[in-house]
Symmetry: C3
């Protein structure tokens, strides 16, 4: 792959794509601010009365089951089907799949009823969805019975998605090619919703590069990881790191980003 | 108008009025913190089981349709009618009106069933509600087919409200007089929910000056804009600006604020 | 009591207990981040479809009625009963009890249907629940007709809980012993949700010390208060204080914390 994170980011900032997010209560403000800081336009809308119309207007749709309930799941399915009809790329973040039956079943249901472009989760969540043993404590992956790169490839093949498995090193696979992304910082794990933010950023990059989902997903993680590295520089802990992260997303420089992206 | 932002702010901090907010999931924490930083007391309550009682206790009611759904709209209508009965001023923030049919129809329904004191929106949202062509992308105004000051005046006349149209320069009109407020900073547009915060701050000022809604609405925008100017001073991007904004709201000095307010 | 805040904090960080929170929309991100900064794992789940399963997985359950509605109350009752069955300690934060009939009735209903381990509220909320006259404005305690220490003791005795009444000085009672905790900083009152965070932190400490609820509750307030003291040091206002608070929670040092805890 020719790394083109900078080009994609430049296009994203020029186009300011609308990224429709049906996500959880915990991180809505945070993923909206990450989207805005990066240069795209977030919109949160979850009522069945409007998700069809909003999804049609969007350049990407991000579904996140972090605080799911039946009405919200219905809205995700409706929005997802419309996005499929009109060719809007869909990101699914299966937050907590593996922790409860309801989360696992809902993630599987969305994957079966909606053509998901990118599945972005931690190793425990994605392992659960391909039937590999894994431990998920609440919404945290504790471990899995296979290597993340293998799980990403298996998920891509069996689920027909680009699988984006984040962790210390991220692994993004379309079933044929598997890319490793080694950007990021351990402080990302100290702030709630950074996984959800990486899904939102994936939606932004997909909106700017819809024809190349594998590359867009890997570039998104490189960009987000780089922002994490920048944010860590003056951080005194999770609070200041969290604040710096938005500053860093806004300050990402397309001219230098490719030299720093560690995609292989 | 004699600018009296300082006096109103002093009264607000003495009275600590309760500002009842039925608002969207994305910004609840942010508008509560802005309300508290300014010196008033926020309360979020949306259940039909309690909105009547809470609205009666409040000194202002803020309705915001940013993540609307039928139960929430019902609660807004109930709370709005009670507020009207007992003379509590009502602010409506028609987030995303113009983006989807549901949002436009809901904003119109609230305006028809509740006597709204101040309608606070961006130019695209308010233009939509008075039938002027406008483009709204998600919750962002892209453009409108008339000048903001004209749209504010038209909205005030046709809807019977004080119309508060925010943008690079804000325009606040009661149909007779139209005030321009030139405070603010471009970084306000880089943080999600700053529009919603300006609606909450409008509710705070209305609570402290209920007999003069036009002045209260303009003073609120001047105060919020000044806080934005102060917050921008040491900001490194949207994250640090956002943090500074609460510090700046709390630090607003009634003694010097009138000299800096740019209301004309 | 032998102060053992440091030991409990060390155990908490080793065990990383899962703290299930069914809480309000305003503070979800904040209590999740406080939990994570302290060293435990938060999970937010409120659907009736999954709360039983999640509560069984948890080491503590925190119920908070800050933005209650019937579905959420049902979920709290279900989760609370399961927690009781399997011996998971339960914290109840009766946000706004005394402000509306619905909140007071809901708090009482939870207390009657669930065996609550620790009731953590402000003096107005707890006074309301034991029938002492109090004024609650929205979610703020304005005053009560008895001393906080007496109210804590009365609540502990009549409700069969450890009562944790926070204020300038906190009072924690099991009906026999009443501890005063004098840590904290006035800036805590300038940020929304710090009361809710103290309830979440109480859940974390209970998870690490389930056999001694009175001590755990007092230690939690000492630790949270100390973080508040640390956070205030370089704060310029409520915004920077809020950010510093997460840094301070993460930086709490078990080796020195007991020397600074003011529990008597």
């Amino acid at each position: 792959m020719t790394v083109a994170t900078g080009d994609t980011l430049t296009r994203l900032r020029e186009q300011k794509p609308l990224v429709h997010q049906i996500t959880n209560y915990v991180v809505m403000n945070e993923t909206a601010n990450a989207t805005l800081a990066l240069g795209a336009l977030p919109v949160m809308a979850h009522a069945r009365e409007e998700v069809e119309e909003m999804a049609r207007l969007a350049a990407a749709l991000v579904l996140n089951i972090g605080t799911l309930s039946p009405h919200w799941v219905d809205a995700m399915l409706i929005a997802g089907r419309v996005a499929n009809e009109v060719g809007v790329p869909v990101v699914l973040d299966p937050v907590g799949a593996g922790a409860t039956t309801y989360r696992t079943a809902t993630a599987k249901r969305i994957l079966s009823e909606v053509r998901v472009t990118v599945l972005r989760g931690n190793v425990g969540e994605v392992a659960t969805l391909v039937g590999v043993d894994a431990e998920v404590r609440g919404v945290e992956a504790i471990g899995a019975a296979a290597e993340p790169a293998e799980i990403a490839q298996a998920a891509a093949r069996s689920l027909g998605v680009v699988a984006s498995v984040t962790g210390r090193v991220d692994h993004v696979s379309d079933g044929e090619r598997t890319l490793a992304v080694a950007n990021g910082h351990e402080l990302l794990a100290s702030v709630t919703g950074t996984g959800c933010m990486s899904s939102a950023v994936t939606g932004c990059f997909l909106a700017a590069k819809p024809a190349a989902a594998l590359d867009a997903a890997a570039e998104a993680l490189a960009a987000f990881g780089l922002a994490g590295e920048d944010a860590a520089r003056d951080a005194k802990g999770p609070g200041s790191f969290h604040v710096n992260l938005y500053d860093a997303l806004a300050a990402l420089d397309p001219a230098t980003i490719d030299g720093r992206a560690r995609i292989s």
